[in-house]
Every structure is written in C-alpha cells, then in structure tokens.
Symmetry: C2
Subunit: 213 residues, 2 copies
C-alpha cells in the first residue's frame, strides 16, 4: 500500500531562504516533489515548460479556473499564476509529499480547500540577519528592501496560523528539521485511518474466535 503524500505549504519572509531550503529538501530525500505552477507569463530564457512552470495561454488558464482546477491562483502584474490541482493530486496519490511555496493569503486558501495540508513557516534566525541577506543579494534597491521588511512585519502577524515554524539558521539542520516535521505528520491518526481500522478488526476477530496457544 502506497503511503499517500502530504501537501506541504511553505511560507516565510522574503529572504528567509525558502527556495534554497526546498531545493535541498527535494535533493536530500526522495519522498518530495516540488509543486509546479501554471502561468500565463511567457517563459524566460532557459525556462522549460513543465520544469519551472507549465506555460499556458490566458484562455487555457481561465478554462482551468472555471472548472475549479487550481489549488489556489492569483493574478500578478497582469499574469496569472496558479497551482494545478490535477498535478498535485497525481503526485500525492503516487506517494510524494508535494511542496508548495506560497505567501500567507494563498496558504490560508489552500488550507481551506485541503484541510489536511501541512502549513510550515520559515523564519530567519533574526531580523538583522534577514536584512543582511536581502542587502547581500545585491539586486534589491533600498526601497525594495524596506517594502520586503514591511511585508514581513505584516506576515509575522499570521505565524500562529501555521502548524510549525522552522528557523533557517543552518541549512542542513533546517532541512533535517523540515523532514522530521513531515515524517511526524505522517503519523497523525487521521492519516492512518485504514491502519487503525485494520487493527480494530484484527482485535475483534482474535477476541471473538478466542486465541489458540
């Protein structure tokens, strides 16, 4: 019997290192699949359809919206982005734990639609370190960094909505902790209903028919 996968929703402040963490998690353990989003934005150089994104036309995206085909979706700078239900469901059924990196509003929508989704929040070790990381990228204007920190302050209000938080101080250790959390989640009774049921039936039958010694 294949263990059904868990939909893992990961949020966290910009600069907390979610992307690196998720990549390392998927590389280190073989039970994970990164969710692939569908988008109407054109592919950038080097991007491959079905790897970075599923690139589709606006018509196809809107069709998918109409048939409730997204775990969540949003419009950003005039382009659609969404997580296709079908892809996620297929991976989960095959036993993969599917990792979905998404901001807090999206995370809440996913939890509403998939109550058994596991919500994780990635934090930097501290805020001065977060600032250093954002500045260190060298690609962000001062304005942009301020915007991201302001956004982080807003997002911080929602941390208690998440089931687990992990502090991304040491990458390897943080990946191990993420994996522990997912392994633990697999041990929740509601994810093991058939096992519990089987145990009860076996206990019934051994007790009814008496045991043979």
């Amino acid at each position: 019997m294949v263990r059904k996968g868990i939909l893992i929703v990961v949020s966290g402040f910009s600069g907390a290192g979610k992307g690196t963490l998720m990549k390392k998690l998927v590389q280190t353990y073989d039970n994970y699949a990164l969710s692939i989003s569908m988008t109407t934005r054109p592919p950038r150089e080097g991007e491959v359809d079905g790897r970075e994104y599923f690139f589709v036309s606006r018509e196809r995206f809107e069709e998918a919206i109409d048939r409730d085909g997204f775990v969540e979706h949003a419009c950003y700078l005039d382009n659609y982005y969404g997580t296709p239900v079908e892809y996620v469901e297929r991976e989960l059924a095959s036993g993969k734990d599917v990792v979905l990196e998404i901001e807090i509003q999206g995370a809440m929508k996913v939890k509403e639609r998939f109550p058994s989704a596991l919500l994780l929040f990635v934090m930097p070790p501290n805020i001065p370190e977060l600032e250093r990381r954002l500045i260190g990228r060298g690609t962000e204007s001062k304005d942009n960094i301020e915007k991201r920190l302001k956004r982080a302050r807003e997002e911080a209000e929602g941390i208690e909505q998440y089931e687990y938080i992990v502090v991304n101080d040491d990458l390897e250790q943080c990946v191990r902790q993420l994996h522990s959390i997912v392994e633990a989640a697999h041990a929740a009774p509601f994810r093991n209903r058939s096992l519990i049921q089987k145990m009860r039936e076996e206990l019934d039958s051994c007790y009814i028919h008496r045991i043979q010694i």
Copy 2:
C-alpha cells in the same frame, strides 16, 4: 536560552514494546528523561530508590495527593502509584523531554492538566504479531493473554485521542520516528512564543527606524 522540554505521554497495547522503545529512545538521544513514578509498594530486590521508583510511605504519598503533587496517580492492588509533578517540572525546565509511559485513562488526565503534553500511541505491526509477542514472553497464562487482548480492543477505541501513532515494527526505525515526532513538536508556534515575539519586535524597530544600507 534553554529549550523547555515537552511532556511526552506514551500509551499502547500491552506487548507493543513500549518499554524497550522508551529505553532505546533515552539511550540514543540525550534530550530525554524517563519519568520516575512514586509508589507505596516496597522495593523489590535490585530496585533502587530514585531509579525504578521513588519509594515512599503511604502517609507521604497521601500528603502529596492533598497538595496536588501528582501529574496523575492511581491505586493498584492496594498500593499507590503516581507521577510527581515536581520531578517532571524540574526536568522540563532543565530542557529534558520527559517520557511518561501510561495507560489511556491516565493519559487523558495528564492531557487535561498539561494541555501541551504530547500524546503518542505505540501499535504493534499487526495483531497476530502482538499475540506472538505476548505468547513469546512465556510468562503469561492463556487467560492473561486473552485479558490483554480484550483490554487492547478497548484501548483501540481511544487511538484518535492521541496526536501521533507509531508502529513498532523495526525498533531502530520506530525510535527514529518517535524522535522525529518530538523534534517536530518543538517547532509548533505555541512552543516558540518568545521567538515569534522577538521577531515581531525586531521587525517593528527596523521598520520604524528605517534601515541603513
């Protein structure tokens, strides 16, 4: 800052191997302490006060009951057994995760008094294997085994009250899984309130005073 320990309550069918598992867990990782019960029963040969049990007089036990000094306690074959709050609290404060092996009614009482206790249920891989283990002990009469299986059937009704179940098939693997569950539990937001608070304050101050690039 010392990470505060978690009170871990472990239940499971008789013969599921809880004792062996707990011993192995404590040996393998250094963050665990086994809870030590207080009892009015006299020590057996080889038993050491403060190791197997805290051996006390009936008077001292009843005094402790009166001042609400037990996490839980029960009377069995005319002797008291109880888990001293003081010992548990001291270990938790020192950062130890305290493991308390206890049956289901006791577990529910503990959860009532310590809502943040972590409730784990240990299952055998299947019931025929449970029967084999009980018979294999060579110390149990047929009647006793039947009683234990009947008791298991009753206990099985309560499994959903536990937060996690683990199947004790392979000892090493099961110990690793238990440890994963405890590590995950440490990452719950309600166990990291001061960290979240600190993060929010840092975000407030960096946003208020503007950042320096």
